[in-house]
């Protein structure tokens, strides 16, 4: 029953391996036998552990845990009042102790006893008589594992906080409801927007700006890839767009200027697609240029389907000398303009009916068809919500999805 630790010092290697980790570790010994407790205490101290608490049974241990907050429990099984099995079960029922290492040391050595102990929540099992080196080695392993787990949890929670912050920063970069209401009031252009990053942070962003002369610029950007890297690039590009300004530039000139700036900044393999446009309400025209963005869709009152613009153009950040075509679509009062990121046309349709063997995606034409079916809705909010519902029903969307619906109210 009493496993006496072998006399003499432990091998150097074992003592070294435990290092500073053990000096700070708090270990609770639970055993009804005083001699056993003292043996374990002496053993742990020899291994470099100094913060040790002792309990006489399960009930006593549970009470002491509240105050002592152990990093590891050395638990005997056969004890009066509350045995080790019961204590282990109760401890695991408390979320605070879910991952606490519980090292059972017992003279119950049958396979069924071990199985019962593990079923009750034990982390590990050593048989009495105790072998000092084995016990210390196992204590060390579990403490190291716990320290690493804590590190990981701390890192995880810090990362969560930081991502949350970045998400909020990114959200602030986009025009808020107040600014959109102001824009509609001043220009008669109503904007409905949907922005849904596929991971914590997105590589999409968009903006809309009223110019002093009454025209309105709008742009939609989609960085290659998604996640943190793409999101950082959205901040960069936002800053560049603000620096360049666009007041006297054509959309094509603006894209060329942004491209020149971005070429020096983006590492190889990264780029952005961008559509930038200028709504001229007086002339009733939407002037635009595109760097490999999606085709803008324009609907005129009375039409059955939207007209598709041309989104072709070299993406930003690839070739400093790239130039962009100036394009235009008529935009009379009542017209609706739909802009979207490529996630909307890369949704797998999965039916394979087009002969693609199930690899077909919803392309521009598929999207235009869905859009056309919703055009009877006079409320833009309903229209966009309906269309997004159609997209979600089409198939999984695994990239950042941005969708903008701009309506000329007058």
């Amino acid at each position: 029953m009493t496993g006496s630790p072998p006399p003499g010092p432990l091998p150097d290697a074992a003592a070294h391996a435990f290092g500073g980790l053990l000096a700070d570790a708090r270990v609770l010994i639970v055993d009804d036998n005083r001699i056993n407790r003292h043996l374990l205490l002496a053993l742990l101290e020899r291994g470099g552990i100094t913060l040790i608490e002792q309990a006489e049974d399960g009930q006593d241990a549970l009470t002491r845990m509240e105050r002592f907050k152990p990093d590891l429990v050395l638990l005997d099984l056969m004890m009066p009042q509350m045995d080790g099995f019961e204590m282990c079960r109760r401890l695991r029922a408390d979320p605070r102790w879910k991952s606490l290492p519980v090292l059972v040391q017992s003279s119950l050595n049958r396979a069924e006893d071990r199985a019962r102990a593990f079923a009750a929540g034990a982390t590990d099992y050593v048989a009495k008589p105790i072998n000092a080196e084995e016990l210390l080695a196992r204590v060390g392993i579990h403490l190291r594992k716990r320290a690493m787990l804590r590190d990981l949890e701390r890192y995880h929670s810090r990362r969560e906080t930081e991502l949350e912050l970045a998400r909020a920063m990114q959200a602030r970069m986009l025009p808020g409801p107040d600014r959109l209401a102001e824009l509609e009031e001043a220009t008669g252009i109503a904007v409905q927007a949907h922005f849904a990053p596929s991971s914590e942070l997105g590589g999409d962003f968009w903006g809309i700006e009223r110019l002093p002369d009454g025209r309105v610029t709008v742009y939609l950007v989609d960085f290659s890839g998604h996640g943190v890297g793409a999101a950082l690039n959205t901040f960069r590009l936002d800053a560049i767009c603000r620096q360049i300004g666009s007041t006297d530039m054509t959309p094509a000139g603006f894209l060329a200027a942004v491209n020149r700036r971005l070429c020096g900044l983006l590492p190889s393999g990264q780029f952005a697609t961008m559509l930038t446009g200028l709504i001229d309400p007086v002339a009733g025209v939407f002037h635009y240029a595109s760097a490999g963005s999606t085709a803008p869709m324009m609907w005129h009152p009375g039409d059955e389907a939207p007209r598709l613009g041309d989104g072709s153009g070299l993406p930003l950040g690839l070739l400093p000398s790239a130039s962009y075509d100036s394009r235009q679509l008529p935009m009379p009062p009542g017209a609706r303009l739909f802009l979207y990121s490529d996630a909307a046309i890369e949704i797998p349709t999965g039916d394979g009916s087009a002969g693609g063997g199930g690899h077909e995606v919803l392309d521009e034409y598929g999207l235009a068809t869905l859009f056309a079916r919703r055009l009877h809705l006079s409320n833009d909010d309903d229209l966009l919500a309906g269309l997004l519902g159609d997209l979600a029903a089409t198939g999984p969307i695994d990239d950042d999805l941005t969708a903008l619906l701009l309506t000329r109210r007058r």
Partner: protein, 101 residues
């Protein structure tokens, strides 16, 4: 995405199959290494069996082009179809990489 390399007299033809997306980053890195190692000067990516490419995939093709440039090799995209062809066309990739039918 999978690929197979066929070494011909004048060119190495790499046939890409399946979907080329961000998840294939490591695989494409390996592929670029293999393309750099074979002796042929002309490296052709045959895209006829590629079903889908996303923006990250396009980015990786552009990295491949740059690496081939650096290795003094010629890099060509061939036989794109369907969505892959549409994406290459919209992004006007032909302006920076030779594309053959």
């Amino acid at each position: 995405m999978d690929y197979g390399i066929e070494l011909r007299d004048q060119e190495a033809v790499v046939r890409l199959r399946g979907r080329l997306t961000f998840n294939d980053h490591a695989k494409l890195r390996t592929l670029i290494g293999e393309m750099g190692q074979n002796k042929l000067r002309r490296q052709v990516l045959d895209l006829s069996s590629l079903e889908f490419v996303d923006s990250a995939g396009i980015g990786m093709l552009l990295i491949a082009r740059e690496e081939m440039d650096r290795a003094g090799k010629q890099f060509v995209l061939r036989s794109a179809a369907g969505q892959v062809k549409r994406v290459l066309t919209v992004a006007q990739i032909a302006k920076i990489v030779p594309i053959e039918d």
